[in-house]
Symmetry: C2
Subunit: 197 residues, 2 copies
Amino acid sequence: MTDRLQQQLDFLMEIDRLKSVNRQTLITDGTRRENTAEHSWHLAMFAFVLAEHANEDVDLLHVLQLCLIHDIVEIDAGDTFAYDTTANSDKGEREERAADRLFGLLPADQHARLRALWEEYEAMETAESRFANAVDRMQPAMLNHMVGEMSTWRQHGISEPQAVKRLSPIGDGSDALWVHTQRIIRDAREHGHLQAE
Amino acid sequence: MTDRLQQQLDFLMEIDRLKSVNRQTLITDGTRRENTAEHSWHLAMFAFVLAEHANEDVDLLHVLQLCLIHDIVEIDAGDTFAYDTTANSDKGEREERAADRLFGLLPADQHARLRALWEEYEAMETAESRFANAVDRMQPAMLNHMVGEMSTWRQHGISEPQAVKRLSPIGDGSDALWVHTQRIIRDAREHGHLQAE
């Protein structure tokens, strides 16, 4: 076997560990927390099915690649709860180190390619990354809405203004999806799953 | 909200259930069985990273779409263990009904599109579906090899000839990946994880 194929397979076996990184969000039947690998699949399906609602024309292959790799750094850096300001203060540094190690398992050209995709996702400066970020914020909002009483919003005492602040970048990727998400936020506040302030 | 967006979101919430469909294969740390949603993500990453090894030129977007949707029917039809000949006898019928219901949640154009992708995956008559099928067979073989003593091969008393028969279509998608998989099969037999006959 070539060194190149060996490096690729080593990377693919290492990222299996993303299946053991748990997020805060519950899956829709409420039985357990979602892990980051299955979240990444769900996100790619959101992007695939909802691409027509993007504000700008997007290259779907490029969006799917962003969705598939956007959270791989969590294998080393862990999932950082979106509303945890303390943990978010050193998130950048932790994730940079994780990206170096994990993408560094690949042959040099693919290391550079996946690292560039991850940085693009984080920067939100391209149409594709704005849309991928939009669905990445909308997906957990929809799961939270679905589980209602058990939502992480309720569990962590999140307020409507906090949710609006966290979720409003959805509008940078898709006006239609942001309109829908605002409806979810209002409904969650009316049911007491989000605090009024 | 438009009916179209509502149908799309209903589909996306329904397919969350793929996270609760368990496969036979264990994840690499051996702690639990893999579910089909995270398997689909892992497979898409295999296709993304290994596309250069396909025997024929493949359209990567097309391959990723096949990987993302190929097992959605398991929400209704369940995961059928590859070596279970009884369960495989009515697998086709169960999966057809599942495809009707699940893809039927989408707007008509997307219903037709995803259904066609699934049928293409099953038929293995295009370069993209041959390659997607190749990585779909290689991925569990690699997980089985990784967990060794705990592999489903060992647990179900699978023989080397059975494994070769199940996995040889990998060569239709990629000679390089089939050469590597044959090495895995030999190693598994030498360690007693696959029976000699």
